[in-house]
């Protein structure tokens, strides 16, 4: 369906990918050269895909032009938010504290309670305001009781001197003893409360579930009470713990995983949507991570569950068993695993003494005296044995195909640190040998960034492809992947090439590197956009290795007949 929309544009019927990089290039004259250069690469396969649809497309174009003018669809397309980018906000600590207070105050007004009680209620409901309000209006008493709150505005915990009071914890009975009771009425002296709360906070790291000291009483010690009975540093620690649990509990917040980073990211992608969206976010400190699974780096286009599956597969020894089944044969009688490391084809199983032929896996007795020469390829038993082996061999080959490419891009992206420092050197060289200023040689650094980004994306496209079923969508995806990979390799090579000091060569280099960088970025954009849309539309079909959490729905696109 989506492809049809794409073709409704007034630009001549070319592939959506191609049109999009025209869009990108509109505001930059220099890019036109690069595009001309790369049109060749694409023409080979992509024109074929769309020739068939020319007639129809022309009709669409006419209608569209009549409706909305020549450029408006393109402009609209550009202004539209990109599917593969999720919106998110980075918050510093004060802002999060404020949000917490605001939420609590809001609920307090709605329910007519003290803000500290509202906060306790919210914490018990993991800050899910809607659910809390829903349940509360159904049954206020039960809801607040399970959350550890007794709502009674007449019972404000404040230090009091109660005549004749004896603290059950320290057994003090001084006449001027200050004591505190939560709304449950269990009264203890302020000193004991202080010690107790401090132990909970400092030793156990507890904050939102500190209960009344009375045995079996589930009433939660609220913020106001804690403030009244502990010192400044403990209170600071308490507030910090509350803040941490606020972010940890909320589905819409996540701490930046970078060490010592104090920012949290707010993103409204719920766990249920993770099968269709990859919420990559970037913290103010520069760390990119996935809001869904918390992994650092950008794992688009793979969804979180595919990433988990893939990393597990790479880490566990499922491939060891695959190797065994691909490189060994089982004794046809007792099933022992045998690896042939030399010698003739007449195998005798060490365990069961069964004699068989290595080549056809059939019993040796039927071979007569034809040693070293098996001509019995089509016996049923032998065919079955070989079939099984061929299957695991193919599975192993398939895995290794994707894994090698995945690992290769990962390795290359890791080496980017080195490339960065090399490029730094090159940049100063360029400055020395030409009239270009510091700002004008930044193109090299930018190009390295582009390469790293693209390689990270490529890396995950291979994990993604491993789990895709073979269909036309996948073929299109792999075309896009190949285009990106080719472009990135070319750019990489340009960056690795030794510098030629002549001024005109440098100018040439700058032009080519910039062109390629822009082209790479646009190809990456195409891959990400296409996969993100596919996820959203449930267009991707996964193979049996995947078994997705949310099933892949019916194919939505299915438009172009691919090569």
């Amino acid at each position: 369906m989506d492809d049809l929309d794409e073709m409704n544009s007034p630009v001549s019927p070319i592939s959506p990918q191609k049109r999009r990089h025209h869009d990108l290039s509109q505001d930059d004259d220099e890019d036109e050269d690069a595009l001309a250069e790369f049109a060749m690469d694409e023409d080979g396969d992509q024109d074929d895909d769309f020739d068939g649809g020319d007639g129809e497309d022309d009709d669409d174009v006419d209608i569209d032009m009549g409706n909305s003018g020549v450029f408006s669809p393109v402009v609209a397309d550009r202004d539209r938010d990109k599917t593969h980018i999720v919106s998110f906000t980075v918050h510093a600590v004060p802002a999060i504290v404020e949000t917490q207070t605001r939420e609590a105050n809001h609920v307090a007004t709605l329910l007519g309670t003290q803000p500290e009680h509202a906060a306790t209620l919210l914490r018990a409901f993991r800050w899910n305001k809607e659910r809390l309000i829903d349940l509360y209006f159904n049954d206020p008493d039960a809801t607040s009781a399970t959350a550890g709150v007794i709502l009674d505005s007449r019972k404000q915990p404040r230090p009091l001197v109660v005549p004749g009071f004896v603290c059950d914890v320290c057994c003090a009975d001084d006449d001027d003893l200050l004591s505190l009771a939560l709304s449950c009425g269990h009264r203890f002296c302020v000193g004991c409360y202080g010690h107790y709360v401090e132990t909970k906070i400092k030793d156990e790291g507890e904050s939102r579930r500190i209960q009344c000291m009375q045995r079996g009483c589930g009433v939660i010690v609220d913020e106001k009470t804690v403030e009244q009975c502990v010192g400044k540093d403990v209170l600071a620690k308490y507030k910090d713990l509350l803040l941490r649990t606020f972010v940890d509990d909320s589905d819409f917040y996540r701490w930046c995983p970078a060490p010592n980073c104090q920012f949290a990211v707010e993103c409204h992608v719920t766990p249920a949507r993770l099968a269709r969206v990859v919420p990559t976010v970037t913290c103010q400190c520069g760390t990119t991570f996935c809001f869904g699974c918390g992994a650092t780096g950008d794992h688009k286009p793979c969804t979180c569950w595919l990433v988990k599956k893939w990393l597990k597969k790479c880490a566990d020894d499922s491939e060891t068993s695959n190797w065994i089944s691909a490189n060994t044969k089982e004794c046809t009688k007792c099933g022992s695993t045998i690896e042939k490391n030399g010698g003739c084809n007449h195998m005798t199983c060490r365990r069961c003494k069964h004699e068989f032929c290595w080549v056809c896996a059939g019993p040796w007795s039927e071979h007569g005296t034809q040693w070293y020469n098996c001509n019995r390829f089509d016996e049923k038993e032998a065919v079955e044995a070989r079939d099984h082996q061929a299957k695991s061999r193919a599975a192993l080959q398939r895995y290794l195909h994707y894994y090698n490419r995945y690992a290769n891009h990962e390795q290359s992206a890791k080496l980017s640190q080195e490339l960065h420092s090399k490029t730094e050197k090159k940049m100063s060289e360029v400055q020395a040998n030409s009239t270009l200023s510091w700002i004008e040689v930044q193109f090299l650094r930018k190009a390295v960034d582009v390469v790293v980004d693209c390689r990270t994306t490529l890396k995950w496209t291979y994990a993604f492809a491993y789990y895709l079923a073979r269909d036309n969508q996948t073929a299109l995806f792999e075309d896009n992947q190949r285009d990106l990979e080719m472009a990135v390799e070319q750019l990489s090579e340009l960056l690795e090439r030794p510098l030629e000091p002549e001024a005109d060569k440098i100018a040439e280099l700058k032009r080519v590197v910039q062109d390629k960088s822009v082209y790479c970025s646009s190809r990456r954009e195409v891959v990400l956009e296409d996969t993100a849309k596919g996820l959203l539309e449930d267009r991707w079909k996964y193979n049996t290795d995947a078994q997705p959490a949310g099933s892949a729905g019916p194919s939505g696109g299915g438009s172009s007949s691919s090569a």
Partner: protein, 148 residues
Amino acid sequence: MSNLSTKRLTKELAELQKKPPGGVTLESADNLSQWVVKVEGAKDTLYQNEVFWLRFTFPSNYPLESPEVVFVRNIPIHPHIYSNGHICLSILYDHWSPALTISSVCLSILSMLSSCTNKERPPDDSRYVAHAAKSPKQTNWAFHDDTV
């Protein structure tokens, strides 16, 4: 020993010596960190006429932290008491409350004994005892049976 725990233990000691609850006697309290309390099986229960000893070891921040409580000398046969004297009782571990006292702990243990209907060791006794830490407080207890 902090001020809080000294004060509280002195008070509890005095209480236990003056008017101990039925079936509970303080056997020895040479210092304020370890006491031994004698408990007698209640009448008309499986433990009638039996005598057991509980050893209380108090941490420095008692009563904020629970005391270590184990049976010594004569270990009762009970589905929640291991043959090394460790007791599986939630108020001694996760559900400890500073408002609990030595007498209330003793009474809880006595009532646990009283409600027993079948004298037997826990099913995993030998496995637990072979690997158990010295103090039961280091064990991660799962409290699955509230009836006994």
